[in-house]
């Protein structure tokens, strides 16, 4: 339109001033006509365009929030998910629960050892690709004013040739269940073995290098070095690594309906003055201190069955892990309160132990949404070598640690999942992990996950 106006103006200006009025009038009329013609043509074109646009909309199905609002995680859109977990639990009132014959792992737990109603820690998980080469993940457990960093690591995406490097705080790749967070467990609590070995699970602050072999049979080898502050080690304030681990996993399918994975793992770490409560000969509470090396072997095995590989209707999961832990070092006892006549920084000589145990469980989905499971936990007292004359001159031989009792537990669970985002679980357990106590426990638990779609790990 502007162009036409300009043209008209230019034509008017360019016409010689000497031209007669008639000429000018004719010219004006001509320009006006041209203007009108152009306007009509433009209007017609606009109408055709509009018609074409509406036609296109009709012939194409409604496109497509997808491209406008990216759904998958990206640099500006991290995956965020929250796990809500809580329970009602009925069990015996036992002050200072521990596992007879085992050095108490203390420290870390997710709750669930409380009677009555309780809320387990809520997990907040944020993850995203950092750039094309790294991915990062943060997992924070929130409970009663505390926020504990469960995992905070980066992972490489671009090393290639089957290598992946992880750095930061992560759950160690040893064994099978160790890498699972509580919401992924098939039972309301951790196996006794995991409680005895690590408190609940073993986390590393360090590095993990994994390599997947270029074979159709799955073979994965991993090595970790880390700070080693967690039980069975202690924080030892030094420059070199405090713990290292090696693991290998093998797995594959058998036909369409079966899948399996087996593994062997080894963890070595050291403890300095690792504490545990003992009683001296006069029944005063004193501290037992262990300084030395701790090595753990874990063998793990998982077998899953789903008819024709479709787990929707029915499926079965068998899972077992075995361990052997050997510790060797010096034993001492101390009495910070200064009331014990026999313990005051007293050296009690060498302490060597070798302990074994494990768990085996089966979880059967007998119809959509419903699963039933059974788990058997056992621990052997194993062998402990020390000089009884020295040790029992300071400590009461009736201390649970010196017992040759064999802890056991049976657990039976039934769970119902509306879909993969919610689960309700009822669990009965007969816990004989403490000598002289048979604790029949009932747990009613909920697990809800919201936000990003969780990973279906094997």
């Amino acid at each position: 339109m502007q162009r036409i106006a300009l043209f008209a103006l230019a034509a008017a200006l360019a016409s010689p001033a000497a031209a007669g009025d008639d000429d000018l009038k004719a010219l004006r009329e001509e320009v006006a006509q041209m203007k009108k013609a152009y306007e009509q043509r433009i209007e017609a074109l606009e109408q055709r365009l509009a018609a074409a646009e509406t036609h296109k909309e009709k012939s194409q199905p409604a496109q497509d929030g997808g491209s406008r609002a990216p759904a998958a995680a990206g640099g500006f859109n991290p995956e965020v998910s929250v796990i809500l977990q809580g329970q009602y639990r009925r069990m015996k009132d036992v002050p200072e629960r521990s596992i007879t014959g085992y050095w108490p792992a203390g420290g870390h737990d997710h709750g669930g050892d409380e009677r009555g109603f309780s809320v387990d820690s809520s997990e907040l998980i944020v993850s995203a690709n950092v750039n094309p080469y790294f991915r990062g993940l943060l997992n924070v457990a929130l409970k009663n004013g505390e926020a504990e960093v469960e995992e905070a690591y980066f992972q490489t995406l671009g090393l290639g040739r089957g290598f992946t490097l992880k750095g930061g705080r992560f759950l160690s790749g040893i064994g099978y269940i160790n890498e699972q967070h509580p919401h992924a467990w098939d039972f309301a609590d951790a196996p006794l073995m995991m409680k005895a070995l690590f408190g609940e699970h073993y986390g590393q602050d360090g590095l993990q290098l994994k390599w997947v072999a270029p074979t159709d049979l799955f073979m994965e080898f991993g090595a970790e070095i880390g700070r080693g502050a967690g039980f069975p080690g202690t924080d030892r304030n030094k420059n070199s690594a405090g713990a290292s681990a090696l693991f290998a996993h093998v797995g594959g399918d058998v036909g369409r309906s079966h899948a399996w994975r087996a593994g062997l793992s080894w963890l070595t770490t050291r403890a300095r003055e690792r504490e545990a409560h003992f009683e001296d000969l006069a029944a005063n509470e004193v501290e037992g201190l262990f300084t030395g090396r701790s090595r753990t072997w874990i063998a793990d095995f998982v077998w899953k069955w789903a008819p024709e590989g479709n787990p929707k209707q029915r499926n079965l999961k068998l899972q077992a892990e075995l361990f052997r832990r050997t510790e060797s070092g010096r034993f001492a006892c101390d009495d910070p309160a200064g009331v014990s006549p026999t313990c005051a920084g007293t050296e009690l000589g060498r302490l060597r132990s070798a302990q074994t145990g494990g768990y085996a469980q089966a979880v059967w989905q007998f119809m959509p949404q419903w699963r039933v499971g059974y788990r058997y936990d056992w621990l052997n007292a194993g062998s402990k070598r020390y000089d009884p004359a020295t040790v029992f001159a300071a400590l009461d031989p009736a201390n649970a640690y010196f017992s040759s009792y064999r802890p056991k537990r049976h657990s039976l669970m039934l769970d119902w999942s509306q879909d993969e985002f919610s689960r309700l679980r009822l669990q009965f357990a007969q816990d004989k992990s403490m000598q002289g106590v048979t604790d029949n426990q009932v747990t009613l638990q909920y697990i809800m996950s919201l936000g990003a779609h969780g990973a279906h790990k094997f």
Binding site: V250, P311, K312, A455
Partner: protein, 296 residues
Amino acid sequence: MRRLCLLFLLSIAWPAHAELRVFACEPEWAALAKELGGDKVSVYSATHALQDPHRIEARPSLIARARNARLVACTGAELEAGWLPPVLRESGNAGVQPGRPGYFEAAQFVVRLEVPTKIDRSEGDVHASGNPHIQLDPRNLLAVAAPLAQRMGELDAANAAFYAGRHNAFADRMRAAIARWEGEAAGLRGMRVIAQHKSFSYLFHWLGLVEAGTLEPKPGIEPGSAHLAQLIAQAKAQQAKLILRTPFDSPRPGEWLAERAGLRLVTLPFTVGGSERAQDLFGLFDDTIARLKGAP
């Protein structure tokens, strides 16, 4: 340790495989890659027709296969959100990570249906990018075949012309077949059907069938008795003719409704391998249309 080092050296010295190794998430992309690649590719399908592609675990075998793949060809649109990301991360294969040339998402190349305006799990397991079951509209296969052939040519430049040639032949055959199928299915236009899950939306869109309800009250939520009871009336009011299920859906809710509402329950192959006749992409549609028309 020495053996480990040896294995490590072996892996680096491993000869590049002559054929292009393709890891397909679903059988339809495996079939398409075979159509385009012929004997120049070796194709592994991570799932088969009796598996629900939503409900797969990151099994060790999948990680091992992804480790060696040059190309990962999947649907995308969050269909594999539960299992593909961990498989790819654990594989240690840099070339097939999202964003790399070795990672191909078919759903990017088609117009997706049922893109939700509201993304909330109260609506069930909705996919923000729309319905991901795109393979039952053969026009989508044409739309995916071109970029897939091109991608295969980029990864395996020596055979790029070969893939392009096979793509042209495939596209010609597919176009002819589409015209034939559309003719055969002309009588189905406007037929009202009930689907178990939103598995067949693209098929309905293509052939002009009308979805008169779904057995699942919301995507991913198992059919409940109250919802099924309500469906009886709905099916009658809408004059629905068929109930459609995939081979991996439970037959029970469909049988229940079929009996009470006087409908026929039909199992469609859903993907390649889903029935005896559906041995390739052409057989898939031959069989689907035959079953819809009531041939045994």
